[in-house]
Amino acid sequence: MDHEALAMEMRGLREQVTGVTDTAVAAADGLLIAADTAEDIDPEGLAAIAAAGLGLARRTAEATGRGTLHQTVAQGSHGCAAVYAVGESALMVVLGDEGVDMDRLHEETRPALTRIGSILSAPETVPAVSAVTGAGPEAV
């Protein structure tokens, strides 16, 4: 897996969408893979909660005939926590403050999910860009 590409995707989302404060990528079973979170957030706990919430939302959508689940969003008075499935095997959680434009967030996140999915499923034999001597971050 190309760690640097994954980190760039996550950080890119935070910088592209105004109001996104933290992101984390976890396996579907709740194990953290990567975190771009502030100090006051426990990324491991966030990953576990996100996996549980996504599983529950999936089952809810399935049991009530709502079709394929797009995302689940918890909205609080100080912002939102959106959880997106990355294929069948992983998920991404995005935290935003009150200002985040949800339509824009979903719009920007969808292509990023596809890219993150291919980064996660890339075979391990492909070396990360950072591991190749002389390669720079521009090759991401």
């Binding site: 890119g12 105004t18 109001g19 404060t21 893979i33 100090e39 990324p43 992983a90 200002g99 591991a131």
Partner: protein
């Protein structure tokens, strides 16, 4: 950063001011969406701007809630009152949480702050005026403002910001306190103490404005002054080109993720009539934690993977295929009741048991 200068996005500003002037001349009513970063929406009534919302500036609700003037519970209580709508102004005044004049100031300052956020950012396009959408703006001002006057006020603020010794853009700099800065120094004004507390190198002036419940313009100006006075500092390198640290969790590498893929030729019917899926372990890799320095020996490289001292626990050999969760006898912790059930031979005992072990998820 090498070039700290800030300047107006002239093309975008020109487009915005032309469109708004046209709306003003035609005394238009509706919503004007501005695309860009952060972008926003101008709500017009009779050619005057009654509300502006932008992801780049805290709205009236965020100003009230984040500043601690009102708690989330109090706000929820107000929204539940009949006729409260999304902006419970009458309830706020009736409960004494805020005065009418104070709320007028909050609404107007949020409006002007949002215009500043739109103008100081990048305007990529302005969509044609549309009819007021759905519920309309959250908290419109009673008497609208002239759009051009609002734009002039925003450019005046931008000019003032650009003239500071250390100009700052609301969404560019991510300051961090200088080492030794005392965030609890009682001589510092509250806004500076707040900014020193929350500035962590990840948050921009805009993020800090939301977090502290203050306008984005005053927070940006305060950050610019604190940078100039040496209370805050900015990393010279933009965060996007910083090296990405990779950390292996202390417990060793992550357990492999199991991906479920159907295996041709080995399909066996299960109870629900679906084929059984065999799980194939897929190694996803190690934990990546951004912004956290790591010792070099812990940096994992795919060509030289870090071998943890203690081997990761082996995955369970055969997990049950994906299916509806089934309750195992004893999983609920009421095994003694179940054990008693075997001794009960009559129907009466069955119904007694059913009533005793019923749980919301038992499916009965």
């Amino acid at each position: 950063m090498s070039d700290r200068r800030i300047s107006l996005d002239r093309a975008g500003y020109g487009l915005l001011s032309r469109t708004l002037a046209e709306c003003g001349r035609e005394e238009a009513t509706g919503e004007l969406r501005v695309c860009g970063r952060p972008g926003g929406a101008f709500h017009l009534r009779g050619g005057l701007v009654v509300a502006v919302e932008s992801p780049g500036a805290p709205g009236p609700e965020a100003l009230l809630l984040r500043s601690g003037r009102i708690s989330g519970e109090q706000w929820d209580g107000l929204l539940r009152e009949p006729g409260a709508g999304r902006w419970p102004e009458a309830g706020l005044i009736a409960h004494g949480y805020a005065g009418a004049a104070q709320l007028r100031v909050v609404r107007m300052s949020a409006l002007q702050d949002a215009v500043f956020a739109v103008v100081v950012g990048r305007v990529e396009g302005v969509r044609p005026l549309t009819a007021p959408s759905g519920a309309g703006p959250l908290a419109p001002v009673a008497l609208g403002e002239s759009p051009l006057r609002l734009l002039q006020e925003a450019t005046r603020k931008l000019t003032a910001l650009a003239a500071l010794p250390w100009p700052v853009l609301p969404d560019r700099e991510r300051p961090v306190p200088v080492p030794g800065a005392d965030r609890d120094d009682p001589r510092l004004p509250p806004v500076r103490r707040d900014l020193l507390t929350h500035a962590d190198g990840r948050r921009t002036a805009r993020d800090l404005a939301f977090l502290t419940g203050r306008g984005v313009y005053p927070v940006t100006v305060e950050i610019a002054r604190m940078l100039a006075e040496g209370l805050l500092q900015c990393a010279d390198v933009p965060p996007t080109v910083l090296p990405v640290p990779v950390r292996v969790p202390s417990a060793g590498a992550l357990l492999p993720l199991r991906r479920e893929e159907p295996v041709a030729g080995e399909q066996q019917p299960e109870r629900a009539g679906r084929p059984v899926r065999r799980e194939q372990p897929v190694r996803l890799g190690e934990l990546v934690r951004l912004g956290e320095p790591v010792p070099p020996e812990r940096i994992a490289r795919p060509d030289h993977p870090v071998q943890p001292d203690d081997a990761p626990p082996p995955p369970p050999p055969d997990r049950p295929p994906r299916q509806l969760p089934r309750r195992r006898p004893g999983a609920s912790g009421i095994t003694e009741t179940l054990a008693a059930a075997h001794r009960e031979a009559s129907w009466k005992g069955f119904f007694r048991l059913r009533n005793r072990i019923w749980t919301p998820d038992s499916g009965t």
